[in-house]
């Protein structure tokens, strides 16, 4: 990978992070790379678009960066495992990426418990990725509990989307 395309990839990581990362305010992966944010990701989008299986866009959109959970559980569904199989393959191929797995809960539940529950979910994803060959040293887990809903209605249709663990990838050298 030449320098130009690497810069483009970084730009894309930042852009996708802004779209998908539920925490828009915390430091996390986004802030650490703020200095590179000036790169226009669209200018180079053709090089690393969703069709490129090694692109972050491919990871986020085609493979899927998140898995969903049933109410008050942290057990991976079969659908979740198949997404994670794809994530694991991608992470093994793209060895200079790290991932932070963010666990989330819906609003049904108290704040502290939901942080613990989100952590369980994130950890379930970590353990599965490790079982599929991703080195544990490249994975970190955190939990936002019920603090970062992506859907705002107070109904199961929204809750189902909010009970999630999101794998947020970033270039190793930036973390």
């Amino acid at each position: 990978m030449n320098i130009l395309s690497k810069v483009a990839v970084i730009g894309l990581v930042l852009t996708t992070a802004a779209c998908t990362r539920p925490d828009r305010f915390g430091a996390g992966a986004g802030d650490g790379a703020a200095g590179v944010g000036a790169v226009d990701p669209n200018a180079q989008a053709g090089l690393t678009g969703a069709n490129d299986p090694n692109s972050p866009l491919f990871f986020n959109q085609t493979i899927g960066d998140r898995v969903l959970f049933r109410i008050d559980t942290s057990t991976l569904t079969e659908e979740g495992k198949s997404i994670l199989n794809g994530q694991a393959r991608w992470l093994q191929t793209n060895a200079d990426y790290l991932a932070i797995i963010e666990g989330h809960a819906d609003e049904q539940g108290t704040r502290e418990y939901n942080i613990g529950l989100g952590f369980r979910r994130a950890n379930a994803v970590r353990e599965y990725l490790v079982s599929q060959g991703v080195p544990a040293t490249r994975l970190r887990v955190t939990s936002y509990g019920k603090e970062r809903p992506i859907q705002v209605c107070s109904a199961e249709s929204c809750y189902a989307q909010n009970r999630r663990a999101v794998t947020v990838i970033s270039i190793a050298s930036l973390s």
């Binding site: 915390g26 430091a27 108290t110 942080i115 952590f119 970190r140 603090e147």
Partner: protein, 438 residues
């Protein structure tokens, strides 16, 4: 006389506060129905011309504090037979009795060079006697609300025999922005939502601040690094530092011990959350629970010998009590539904909690053995109780349903009476009620 007797008997039957007197004025607060005790508070005497506005403001706030408890009601000035415009004047007890003002509060305010002086006396109109001696509070003019709260605390305490809670502050999370883009920052305010001051900016997510026992420090959870960590904030300087905890991937849900030297909190490792205790002086850490379940929301008993916490070790969130040093825990919640966020009362006799059952949330109290559970509130989402310094009132957050849902603070008596919003501007959550100020 007959009417007074009947009210006394009714009060006894219903278990309401008994204020009809056979002896000196005394309001005994118990559970059940209440007839508020009528009091009169004529506008405090302005001892010099500059004091007249302050005298009016202070008088109004004293009245608001007392009436706001739901235990007292003010007899309006329009009903007065005699005026009481001079602090030193003799009390015409019969005139106050005639309008059924059980208690009479009088005061005087003077201002000199930015300093104010507030004098206060309390009279029992039916016994025709003063209750306690006169009191005097001095301070700067911008602290006038505190002096009014102190007058109201003194009146409350002399009439009920319990300490008051008006001169106290609450630290909480001020919220703004839509539900999927919510900004949260720490703020502190008086118990009545006046004098709001922000303690952090909204640059990173903060949760669940907890006052130290003296109100000088605040523990809270911060997502500054993207991973939950505990910060200690000095309220006066707003300086903050990260609490040194045992090693863990996340630390959250902190609370001080009653002597302010220990912090109990949740630490998470490998998907599992347990409770730890750290000593602020020695820097030592002790793990208090060792279970594969979620153990969180710990709260010390007033004497520090025990800790109440929540755990889902039984399969659902329930309340448990263990020794302050950890070890075996006994479950205390057995009702239907899930129980979380337990907080030990300052008197030591009750545990306040959040209960989730059949799609609703409640704030409730139970005895420390789990008996006599009472639910005080019900809504789409009520959560996170905190005790008034005298253990009479609980403040909590209520969140409304749906896409436009917002959080606000409410308070309720432990009897379940007097549920009302705390008038904070903007969204508010996670209150922690500090001590009565010195």
């Amino acid at each position: 006389m007959l009417k007074r007797l009947m009210i006394l008997m009714m009060a006894l039957v219903l278990g309401g506060p008994v204020w009809a007197q056979s002896g000196p004025l005394r309001l005994t607060i118990t559970d059940g129905v209440i007839e508020p005790l009528p009091f009169a508070v004529p506008v405090f005497e302005a001892e010099n011309a500059e004091a007249s506005q302050l005298a009016a403001d202070i008088t109004r706030l004293v009245s608001q504090d007392l009436a706001g408890t739901g235990l007292f009601r003010e007899v309006p000035a329009s009903a007065y037979i005699s005026q009481h415009s001079a602090f030193a004047q003799t009390v015409a007890y019969a005139d106050w009795r005639a309008i059924n003002a059980q208690a009479l509060i009088t005061g005087a305010v003077s201002v000199s060079g930015g300093q104010i002086n507030v004098k206060f006396r309390l009279f029992d109109a039916f016994s025709g006697a003063e209750m306690g001696g006169g009191l005097q509070f001095a301070g700067t003019a911008d602290g006038w609300r505190r002096m009014a709260h102190k007058v109201a605390d003194a009146a409350y305490s002399r009439i009920t025999g319990e300490s008051g809670y008006f001169d106290s502050r609450v630290v909480f999370v001020a919220e703004s922005g839509p539900k999927d883009n919510r900004l949260k920052r720490l703020a502190v305010m008086d118990y009545d939502a006046a004098n709001l001051k922000f303690l952090t900016d909204s640059g990173s997510l903060v949760l669940a601040p907890r006052f130290s026992p003296t109100g000088d420090r605040v523990l809270y959870t911060t997502f500054e690094s993207g991973f939950p960590r505990i910060n200690v904030l000095d309220v006066a300087t707003v300086g903050r530092r990260q609490l040194t905890t045992a090693a863990g991937e996340m630390a959250f849900s902190p609370r001080f011990s009653r002597d302010g030297t220990q912090v109990i909190y949740s630490l998470a490792n490998g998907g599992n959350t347990d409770i730890y205790r750290s000593d602020l002086n020695s820097g030592s850490h002790v793990r208090l629970t060792e279970a594969p379940s979620i153990e969180t929301a710990p709260s010390f008993s007033p004497d520090g010998s025990q800790i109440v916490f929540e755990s889902d070790r039984s399969g659902s969130q329930q309340l448990y009590i263990m020794s302050g040093n950890g070890g075996e825990a006994r479950r205390i919640s057995f009702g239907e539904g899930r129980y979380g966020t337990p907080v030990w009362s300052p008197r030591g006799d009750l545990i306040a909690f959040t209960k989730q059952n059949a799609g609703r949330f409640h704030i409730g109290v139970m005895r420390t053995d789990g008996s006599e559970e009472r639910l005080l509130t019900a809504s789409f989402l009520d959560e996170g109780p905190t005790w008034s310094p005298n253990g009479r009132v609980i403040m909590f957050m209520r969140e409304t349903q749906g896409a436009g849902g917002t959080s606000s603070l409410y308070s309720v008596d432990i009897s379940g009476r007097n549920l009302k919003p705390v008038p904070v501007q903007g969204g508010a959550s996670d209150p922690s009620w500090g001590p009565l100020q010195p």
